[in-house]
């Protein structure tokens, strides 16, 4: 616990480009940027594939493969390929890694909607887009959010590792602390990252509460 005191108690850790607030902001920036880009690619694609039912196998297989890809390997590969002048060598692998969970869950969510329901919607005169937007997406939302959450968890973790390649973010405290035997920095940084991850997790739980209809989550009790 003294490590935590040492770390959080040191005013030098609270200011400047290497301070906690800046690092936190950087971490947030990389994570949000990567997740946003991934979502922009994966959600429309997942909706399309789920809705039309074409290409599902490719999605599932590639998602399985992507789980096997080592984060650190990708990071190093892109840094070697593109250099460290911009943040893209880090953002690209982050996006690559977070597309599959969103894609698969969106796809599975849409595809898993009871065919009767889809039928009923068409039978009532909804057009293709309306069926997707008004019925399939709300019903598949829990899975879509799950995909986003899994990706977010992964992005936060990978952003941490990305500090190894000289990028900012909370991973700096851990990696620099490790190199300089400053265990207070290691512990403090780790705790910050863990808290960050938990807040992300909590955020998604709350988002789920707010956006998913109680009729789908079945959270209401009868009577």
């Amino acid at each position: 616990m003294t490590w935590l005191g040492d770390f959080f108690g040191d005013p030098a850790n609270w200011s400047g480009p290497g301070g906690i607030p800046m690092r936190l902001l950087e971490h947030l920036e990389f994570s949000v940027l990567a997740l946003l880009l991934a979502a922009l690619v994966a959600i429309p694609l997942g909706l399309l594939i789920g809705h039309t039912g074409r290409g599902g196998l490719v999605v599932v297989v590639s998602a399985n493969l992507s789980r096997a890809l080592p984060t650190l390997g990708l990071l190093v590969m892109f840094v070697l390929l593109l250099g460290t002048a911009s943040i893209w060598p880090v953002i690209i692998p982050l996006v690559l890694l977070s597309v599959p969970p969103i894609l698969v869950n969106t796809f599975e969510g849409i595809r898993g909607v009871d065919p009767e329901l889809r039928d009923a919607a068409y039978g009532m005169g909804l057009r293709g887009g309306q069926v997707l937007g008004r019925v399939l997406v709300p019903v598949a939302l829990p899975l879509i959010l799950l995909g986003l959450r899994l990706s977010a968890i992964q992005v936060v973790a990978t952003t941490t590792v990305a500090a190894y390649t000289g990028l900012g973010g909370l991973g700096r405290f851990v990696i620099d602390g490790f190199a300089t035997k400053d265990y207070a920095s290691v512990v403090g940084g780790s705790v910050l990252i863990v808290l960050f991850a938990l807040v992300v997790q909590l955020g998604f739980t709350l988002a789920q509460r707010v956006t998913v209809s109680p009729g789908v989550s079945r959270r209401l009790k009868t009577r």
Binding site: N64, L65, R67, A68, L69, P70, T71, L72, G73, L74, L75, V76, M77, V79, L80, L81, I153, V156, A157, T158, T160, V161, Y164, T165, G171, V174, I175, G177, F178, Y183, V186, V187, G189, S190, V191, I193, V194, A197, L198, V200, Q201
Partner: protein
């Protein structure tokens, strides 16, 4: 020795087995140890916990919640925090990976046992199975496909996660990445990625094979 960097094949040939520490073969061995131990240990630990969660239903929510949280923790800081307990050793990588494995496998065990239709369970009781025998002969076999599906996820992600351990000097094949970063050179990165993915695919394939052998009734379903 000629000038200029070797091709990827030359590099592999030179470094596959140098007989010294850090050869590819050596790293591969480390990698296997650090990924297989969590898979096996995760399963061994998840089984009793899953069973307990089914027996005492109140246990499931807190257990699942806890492991859900654990699963969300990034591996690097967890490795780092664990150093104060286990030091700079393989154990530091193995322990968190075991917990990640449990986070996937406990729900799999619970779902697997939940996939045993109630009427099947009732039948077993009515036929005079004792509880233990029922568990071993009826419930666990029926739960196997679901548990194996979870195990496949665990195997693949454990194998790829080990590489992060390179940042504390315990990465198995991940060490190829840090090495290639310090002395910028692509072949080790490519070889590392390829070997890790291949390892994951092999593990996955073996589990699929196990699934076929252990659960012929599932395979039969696909065939018909």
């Amino acid at each position: 020795m000629n000038d200029g960097p070797p091709t990827i094949w030359e590099w592999v040939a030179r470094n596959w087995d140098t007989g010294r520490v850090g050869s590819i073969k050596d790293l591969l061995g480390d990698h296997l140890v650090m990924s297989l131990v969590p898979i096996v240990a995760g399963l061994v630990l998840a089984l009793p916990l899953g069973l307990a969660s089914v027996r005492w239903r109140w246990l499931y929510q807190p257990t699942a919640g806890l492991f859900n949280v654990i699963y969300a923790l990034p591996s690097l800081p967890v490795f780092m925090l664990l150093i104060s307990v286990t030091g700079l050793s393989k154990t530091t990588v193995i322990i968190p990976l075991t917990f990640y494995a449990m986070a996937v496998l406990i729900p799999a065990v619970v779902d697997g046992l939940g996939s045993v239709p109630d009427h099947v369970r009732q039948s077993a009781v009515a036929m005079g199975f004792t509880p233990l025998r029922r568990l071993v002969r009826v419930e666990l076999p029926i739960a196997t496909p679901v548990v194996l599906a979870g195990l496949r996820v665990v195997a693949v992600s454990s194998i790829s996660l080990v590489s992060v351990g390179a940042l504390i000097g315990q990465g198995g094949l991940g060490m190829l990445f840090t090495r290639a970063y310090q002395n910028p050179f692509m072949p080790p990165v490519v070889v590392g990625i390829v070997l890790i993915v291949a390892l994951a695919l092999v593990a996955d394939g073996l589990l699929v094979l196990a699934q076929r052998l252990l659960t012929p009734w599932v395979r039969a379903r696909r065939a018909s």
